[in-house]
Amino acid sequence: MTTSRFAPGTFTPAPGRGRLGRMLATHARVETALTLRHGEQILLTLLIPLALLLGLSLLDVLPAGEFAGMERVDWITPRILALAVLSSAFTGQAIALGFDRRYGVLKRLSATALPRWLLVAGRLVAALVVVALQVLVLGGVAALLGWSPSAAGIAFGVVLLALGTLCFGALGVLLGGALKAEAVLALANIVWFVLLLAGGILMVPSALPDAYATVVALLPSGALAEGLHAALVDGAFSAGSCAVLAVWAAVAAAIATRTTKLT
């Protein structure tokens, strides 16, 4: 054999685990970049909520009784923010995870020194970053349309958005980690559509029959939309909404740790 292009000692073993903070930051950055680069994800997480925000704020399509003297944009914006969380943390997350499993990404990464908890943590940090960007864009457009949220409720709103992201993120991991990629794709889109129309995001529980309204208020979508409405319209903290989101998050995370498969 001719002389090697590899000098002796090039591959001398020097194993060890990298720094956890750097691993988490890099993993979250890659996950975020992949979401932002993906056309369908942008459509789902940004363009559809943006279209609904513009359409429902500018066009007279909602029954006027719903917002009793309020500006339409003040009524619709908290609900669009809830939809944004549902879209990215749940539907987008589940579909991405389903296909990442199909392509062996989780297996590849879990064969490195990356701890298993960090695989989930990196995705959740990325989900929080994406939600923050969605809120900036959607909130900015809403402000141009005249949105004036309750100043007292903005901190509550941030807490609810973070909790909602963790809750829908856990549900997204639960779905995306359990089924085949195509089944995840179908189900995540169906759930998105059902929760948007019948899960308390566009239809207010108080406008629904009593028994059904109770169910909707206990759904994560209903709890997040009502909680954001209370915070950003009335400046009130909705402990009930937070409790519902926390319970869903805990249950979904507990089941997901048992059911999530690498491939």
Partner: protein, 308 residues
């Protein structure tokens, strides 16, 4: 630190009613290249995945660098590099982005840019994984296995889908790994790969080891049983030829028109074969007497029929 790179005793793994690994034993010293050779479905990948901690055995013990991969995974993973079959990367991730992500998992990684360059991926740094060719994806996957300077690497069919130049490059790289004291366990279908690279070859079939040794030892076994090969028209009656030879000789048509006489080959045997062919009115072409190569050992041991 004196534990073997890999030590497996009595490994059993079942999937439903199928026994994928059936009492496999293996001992691989540090700093060696061991090739697991076997047909599809022989249990090679299952065995490697158990060593990597992706599957748990139904019976038997597995020790990798002295640790139990199912229990001590967190301690073991930083020391081991893995190249899974079929790669593994986000479809939209750029080649360099993926390698840098894996590099941050290691304390003292190789330089990702350098590794991409030597693997011929310097021009594809910003190319999304899904747009890389199969061979490029394989090389990126290999880079991910090596980037953390591991003590031991598991390579599942590392050169599958690579063109001959890339394959030579990978072979050279594996040679450099051995020089630097890295242990390599690879699975392969390629006899040439096992023969030219490996210190030891284990031929696996139906979940168990059917032969083991250095490539030269494996091919030298039964060396006195040289063999005679020739080509003629397909469909000759091999039983008639065997009957013409002394007792104990085996005649096979290993593929249509390709014949093989196994047994002690002396001038008398050659003469018998050619005169028998003359009686049949056929010309024996490419008549060749020689020792077996690894492929013949492999086919001998694992059978010739195509598995499904």
């Amino acid at each position: 630190m004196n534990a073997a790179a890999v030590e497996i005793t009595g490994l059993v793994k079942r999937f439903g009613s199928v026994t994928a690994v059936d009492g496999l034993d293996l001992k691989m010293p540090r700093g060696e290249i061991l090739a697991l050779l076997g047909p599809n479905g022989a249990g090679k990948t299952t065995t490697v995945e158990i060593c990597e901690g992706f599957r748990t055995p139904d019976a038997g013990t597995v020790r990798v660098l002295g640790l139990d991969p199912a229990r001590d995974g967190a301690a073991l993973r930083p020391r081991v590099g893995v190249m899974p079959q079929g790669g593994g990367a986000y479809p939209g991730v750029r080649a360099e982005e993926m390698l840098r992500l894996v590099a941050t998992c290691a304390a003292d990684p190789l330089d990702p840019a350098w590794l991409l360059d030597v693997l011929g991926l310097g021009g594809t740094r910003r190319t999304p994984f899904k747009r890389l060719s199969g061979g490029q994806q394989q090389r990126l996957s290999l880079a991910c296995a090596l980037i953390g300077r591991p003590e031991l690497v598991f390579l599942d069919e590392p050169t599958a889908g690579m063109d001959p130049q890339a394959r030579r490059l990978v072979w050279e790289l594996l040679g450099a790994l051995r020089t630097d004291g890295v242990s390599v366990l690879l699975t392969t279908h390629l006899m040439e790969e096992a023969e030219s690279l490996a210190d030891d070859v284990m031929i696996v079939d139906d979940g168990a080891v059917v032969a083991q040794g250095s490539p030269s030892a494996l091919t030298a076994e039964h060396a006195e049983d040289a063999q005679l090969r020739f080509r003629a028209r397909p469909g000759l009656d091999t039983r008639l030829l065997a009957a013409a030879l002394p007792e104990g000789y085996v005649v096979r048509e290993s593929s249509p028109g390709s014949y093989r006489v196994i047994g002690h080959v002396d001038p008398q045997v050659v003469s018998t074969v050619t005169s028998w062919c003359a009686q049949q009115g056929v010309l024996a072409e490419e008549l060749h007497v020689g020792r077996r190569d690894l492929e013949e050992v492999f086919l001998e041991l694992t059978g010739r029929e195509l598995r499904t």
